[in-house]
Every structure is written in structure tokens, then in C-alpha cells.
């Protein structure tokens, strides 16, 4: 374990919308490239030398080998410069860090995935994990809410999921501008949860989105009757090391970076400062 990253190259940059792009990185070292493996929900520390480091969750699926995809919003210092980088730029990557989703526990049962906005970034990794071994899961539901049609990330991939019959996927936007040709659903993601009916027994729920989204979605899930122990949420905190040392991500007696970032709702409400 080390605070020293390994060199990687930005090989592809895919524009998603004005704020978000999908960046593909490969390690310089070929052995490292082959050996790198991770779980959905884990993150890496991305370095832009001279600018700094930021924790970013992995967006590609664990079965896609040889590269790492990160879906990043242009929001701060490191991510701002990242969006300016050209292909073939040198960066540093260390990780993967964090516990990731407990996929071993989730397998064999049903899975409901609820994403809000950029919360789709780590959940896309989980979705890809499920698609790769669909037969190991029972019913699978996906609810994805975005602010408006413009800000639906991975629209093409979502279309494919909407058409699949072995997955109950629904997409909605909060509002639609007047001139939009949006044909899909309009409304809060919580309304989708009324329509994606899953058995309460044996269903894990993975939730990721902005703070206000959590508030409404968690309330809704409890009203629907899901157990707090079966709801998995991903916490965001400031991180300087990712290794459980720098102290910045501490919540109560947990380090978000190594004990999390995935916590059950039950574990999370037992931490001070959370709700």
C-alpha cells in the first residue's frame, strides 16, 4: 500500500454532456494493466501531476480488462484540468480502494439499482457486472433519474437496457424544457420505484446519487418496506489518501475510504453526522 501512484495514459475521451466525459486510462506497465482487478463500487485516486489527486469511482465493469473508465464531472481543480487533457496525456492512478458492493452477497437474490444523476457512474460498473452474469441474479430492476433530457448520462446504453426483457429498467427526468422532443417518462425517480415492483424478501437495493436524492429515495424505500440492512448506499467524503490514514473521510469510527464507501443504510444511520 502506498501513496505513490503508477503512470497511466489517457487513451480515450468520450464527451457525454457539457459537464461530463468518460475517460479511458491504461497503465503504462503491461503487467499492471493485466493484473488490475476491482469490484463494482470501488474507486481509484487519480493524479494529475502538478495539480493534485482526486478519488473517482470506477465506471467500467470488472470484466472489462486492460483499461479503466472513469465518468467525471467537471467540478473542481483536478477534474477541471482532467477535462482539458488531450488523449495520450500522462496521469497517475493508484487503487483500487474501498470495499465495493458486496456482489457475493447480492448474487442469488434480486437486485434493485437506483441511480440519480452522476450516481450512475459507480452503478454502471455494477450493472455491467450483472449483465455479464445475468443468470446468477433473480429479478433485476433499474431506476435512473436525471434532471432533464440533456443530462441523462449513457443515453444509448440506457436505451438498450430499456428494451431488454430480462431487466425491468426505467428512466425518467425531473423536467423537460419546452422545445424538447423527450418521449420518455417525466417525474421524480421515487415515482419509478412505485412501478418497479420487486419482492421485498431477498432483494438488495443499491442506491447512489446526490444528497437530496438519498433523502427522498431512502424514505421511499422504507415506505415500500425494504429492510435498512438490504439497502446499500455509497458515501462521499473528502479523501487525501484512500488508505485509512489521512483522517479526512472519517465518520464516527469508520473510514469512508477503506470501511466504505459502500455502507448499508443501517450501518450508515449508526454513524454520527450522517442523518
Amino acid at each position: 500500500m502506498s501513496l505513490v501512484p503508477e503512470l497511466a495514459i489517457l487513451v480515450e475521451k468520450r464527451y457525454l454532456d457539457a459537464q461530463h466525459s468518460l475517460f479511458r486510462f491504461v497503465f503504462n506497465d503491461e503487467d499492471r494493466r493485466k493484473a488490475f482487478s476491482f469490484k463494482p463500487g470501488q474507486f481509484v485516486m487519480l493524479s494529475i501531476f502538478g495539480v493534485g489527486e482526486a478519488p473517482i469511482s470506477i465506471t467500467s465493469g470488472p470484466d472489462e480488462k486492460g483499461f479503466i473508465d472513469l465518468c467525471v464531472r467537471k467540478a473542481g481543480r483536478v477534474t477541471g484540468v482532467l477535462h482539458e487533457l488531450e488523449e495520450n496525456a500522462r496521469v497517475g492512478i493508484r487503487g483500487p480502494y474501498g470495499n465495493g458492493y458486496p456482489v457475493e452477497t447480492m448474487e442469488g437474490g434480486n437486485l434493485l439499482i437506483v441511480a440519480g444523476g452522476l450516481g450512475i457512474a459507480p452503478l454502471r460498473s455494477l450493472i455491467r457486472y450483472v449483465l455479464f452474469r445475468r443468470e446468477r441474479f433473480g429479478e433485476v430492476g433499474i431506476g435512473y433519474g436525471a434532471r432533464d433530457p440533456e443530462s441523462v448520462l449513457f443515453y444509448g446504453e440506457m436505451q438498450n437496457l430499456l428494451e431488454r426483457t430480462d431487466i425491468n429498467c426505467m428512466l425518467s427526468v425531473d423536467s423537460v424544457p419546452e422545445n424538447s422532443r423527450w418521449q420518455g417518462q417525466v417525474g421524480r425517480v421515487t415515482q419509478l420505484l412505485d412501478k418497479i415492483t420487486m419482492p421485498l424478501e431477498g432483494t438488495s437495493v443499491a442506491v447512489c446519487g446526490p444528497p437530496v436524492f438519498y433523502k427522498f429515495v431512502l424514505d421511499k424505500l422504507l415506505k415500500l418496506g425494504y429492510s435498512k440492512g438490504s439497502i446499500y448506499m455509497s458515501l462521499e467524503r473528502r479523501m487525501e489518501c484512500g488508505l485509512g490514514k489521512c483522517g479526512h473521510c472519517v465518520v464516527g469510527h469508520k473510514y469512508t475510504c477503506i470501511d466504505g464507501p459502500i455502507f448499508t443504510y443501517w450501518d450508515a444511520i449508526n454513524l454520527p453526522e450522517i442523518f
Binding site: 500500500m1 489527486e53 467540478a75 473528502r238
Partner: protein, 337 residues
């Protein structure tokens, strides 16, 4: 464990010899009542009767600022190779040894911190007994004695030091000048017992930590936090002088002429306003009472739930240093009342 005695007057000879074989660090007087750890420069500068150095020994394993690696636009990442000689720190009191034990746990949890451990593994400790002053809280925190971590521990008696030899390294040091050490006599053992009893009776400051974790949790929303946060300057002095505060920040600087980027880590403090600030502007602990409370909760409960030990060693540095006169004993009493 082996015990030996050494005539106090021979300590200079012993330290001179240790210094020839290792890099020796000792406490020195700095100002009128302040002390600091320095490389050994002759016995006349060594302080043997002192309570606390300004900065605790954590500085030797987690320096206030250290470079992690260098990289340029085209070069590989170069980690500075630290080829420091093996060091012995002399004069560590029980509280500071407990502090090092806590840091060892913190820098091992979830995997060893290579930068911390490459220094820590090359350091030995000679402990030294002390008598409490008005700030010492070690008795309350159960850190007034230590049975681990050190290599040698010197208990000050009238004419001799009772020396506890804990490790093979401690034995190696003894064997550098074996003529200085001998079996303790019955009289010396009796004197040692008297001294312990005497020291126990000297503690004037007591902090009641019974069920403190429960109380702090129950009083999470107490007005006490609000009240103290008006007095606290959030200067971070308590954090800098704390033997167990380990938080750090990671950042880059680039030399414009050479294009070489250095990645640093430096001490940070949870009292600082942007400590928990994330990209996008959300601050998870922006309000003053929240920041004040966090330090107490993490010291007394957070770490203890992970490692079974509160991280306050009772060294008294924070109370002595605080420019606003905030005292942990008083804060805990306010919570208790």
C-alpha cells in the same frame, strides 16, 4: 523481563556510547520552560528532568512536511530513498510511548503506511520516568505506565536508575558498556516501590472517563459544543502538539524552471474549516461546533471503537498550548454535568 540498575552519574558515559553506535535524539531545553527533541550534542545539553517537549515524537515518523515522490513531464515517478541511520530516542515518558503505540496502530490499520514505517522500524526508544505537573492526565487515561514499545526504560531513583530491559535492542545497548549495569539490590527494589507510590499520590488533576463514550454519544447535541466553539480559535495548535493527531493533507508543487512536480504530505487539522470540504462546495463539517465536537469524539470514541484504546494519552500538551485556555478536563466535566 530483565531489570538492571545504573548509577545516575554514569548516564553521560552511557549516552556518549549509544551516540557512537546509533543516531541519538535527546530532549533539550529550548526556552525558559520549553523543551524540544534534538540530535545529541553532548550530555551537558540533555534535559533529564522535564515534562513534555513542545512537539511530540510523532515528528520523527510523520514529519510536519515530507515529499512522497518527484515526477516530471517525461520522467518516471521517483520515490526519495531514505537511508537514515538507526535512531535511538532518549527521554520518552510513558505518555509519549503510549502515543507511539497508538500511531503504530493507526498507521497499520488497513495496511502499513510505508513512509511512516520505514522510519519507525529504524527507531528504538529509551524511556524515562517523570513526575506529574498540573497538566498531566496520564493517570486518568491509564497511560502513566507502559510495558511495551520501549527498548529500555529508566526509572529515576535517588542514586541510580532502575532500568527495565524490554527488547534485544535494549540488551544490545546495555552490552555496549556492560560495566555500568548490575543486578538491582533489595534496597533499590524497595526504593522503586516507594517512588511509584509517591508518584501516584502526586497527581492533582483527574478526569473521570467512566462511560465517557456513552456520555459523549448521548450529549451529541449538547449546548456544550456550541459554547466551547465560541471560545475556540480553531488555530489547530492542540492538533499540532498532540502525540496522536495524525491527519495529513496531500498536495503538489511544481518548479516552473525544471518542470519537476513534488508531491507532499503535511500535517493537517480537523479543526480547519475546509477539512471536510468536497468538490462542488459541500462541507460535511463546516460549522464551528461540529468541528470542535469531532475532535473530542474522535479522540475518545472513534479510535477506541477501532482499536480499543482512546487516543488521548493525557500528556497535557493541548491544555498547556491552547491560546484560548480550553482544557480537556473542563470540557469533559461540562459534558458530565
Amino acid at each position: 523481563m530483565i531489570y538492571r540498575t545504573m548509577i545516575k552519574k554514569t548516564l553521560p558515559r552511557f549516552l556518549d556510547t549509544v551516540n557512537k553506535n546509533y543516531r541519538l535524539i535527546v530532549p533539550e531545553q529550548k526556552g525558559k520552560e520549553t523543551y524540544t527533541f534534538k540530535p545529541y550534542s553532548g550530555f551537558s545539553n540533555v534535559a533529564t528532568e522535564f515534562l513534555r517537549t513542545i512537539i511530540p515524537p510523532k515528528q520523527f515518523f510523520l514529519p510536519p512536511k515530507e515529499d512522497l515522490f518527484h515526477v516530471s513531464g517525461t520522467s518516471d515517478i521517483e520515490v526519495g530513498a531514505e537511508e537514515e541511520p538507526f535512531s535511538i530516542i532518549f527521554g520518552l515518558h510513558s505518555c509519549d510511548l503510549h502515543g507511539i503505540d497508538i500511531l503504530d496502530k493507526a498507521f497499520s490499520y488497513g495496511g502499513k503506511d510505508t513512509f511512516y514505517w520505514r522510519r519507525r522500524e529504524k527507531t528504538g526508544f529509551i524511556g524515562l520516568s517523570c513526575l506529574p505537573d498540573k497538566y498531566c492526565l496520564c493517570k486518568s487515561m491509564h497511560t502513566d505506565f507502559i510495558v511495551d514499545i520501549y527498548d529500555l526504560f529508566l526509572y529515576t531513583l535517588d542514586e541510580v536508575y532502575m532500568v527495565s530491559v524490554r527488547t534485544a535492542l535494549g540488551d544490545d545497548m546495555l552490552r555496549l558498556c556492560p560495566e555500568l549495569f548490575r543486578e538491582p539490590t533489595g534496597k533499590e527494589i524497595a526504593e522503586y516501590k516507594d517512588r511509584i507510590e509517591e508518584r501516584e499520590s502526586m497527581f492533582t488533576r483527574i478526569m473521570d472517563i467512566t462511560n465517557l463514550a456513552d456520555l459523549l454519544t448521548l450529549e451529541y447535541k449538547s449546548d456544550v459544543w456550541e459554547q466551547y466553539s465560541h471560545r475556540c480559535l480553531f488555530c489547530g495548535s492542540c492538533v499540532m502538539v498532540c502525540p496522536t493527531c495524525q491527519c495529513f493533507d496531500v498536495y503538489d508543487s511544481t518548479d516552473l524552471l525544471t518542470d519537476i512536480t513534488v508531491r507532499w504530505r503535511r500535517w493537517d487539522a480537523c479543526m480547519r474549516k475546509d477539512y471536510a470540504l468536497v468538490t462542488g462546495g459541500h462541507n460535511f463539517r463546516g460549522a464551528r461546533p461540529e468541528r470542535f465536537r469531532f475532535r473530542y469524539l474522535h479522540k475518545e470514541i472513534g479510535f477506541a471503537e477501532m482499536h480499543g484504546k482512546a487516543t488521548c494519552t493525557g500528556c497535557g500538551r493541548c491544555s498547556e498550548t491552547c491560546p484560548a485556555g480550553i482544557d480537556m478536563v473542563e470540557v469533559v466535566r461540562s459534558i458530565r454535568e
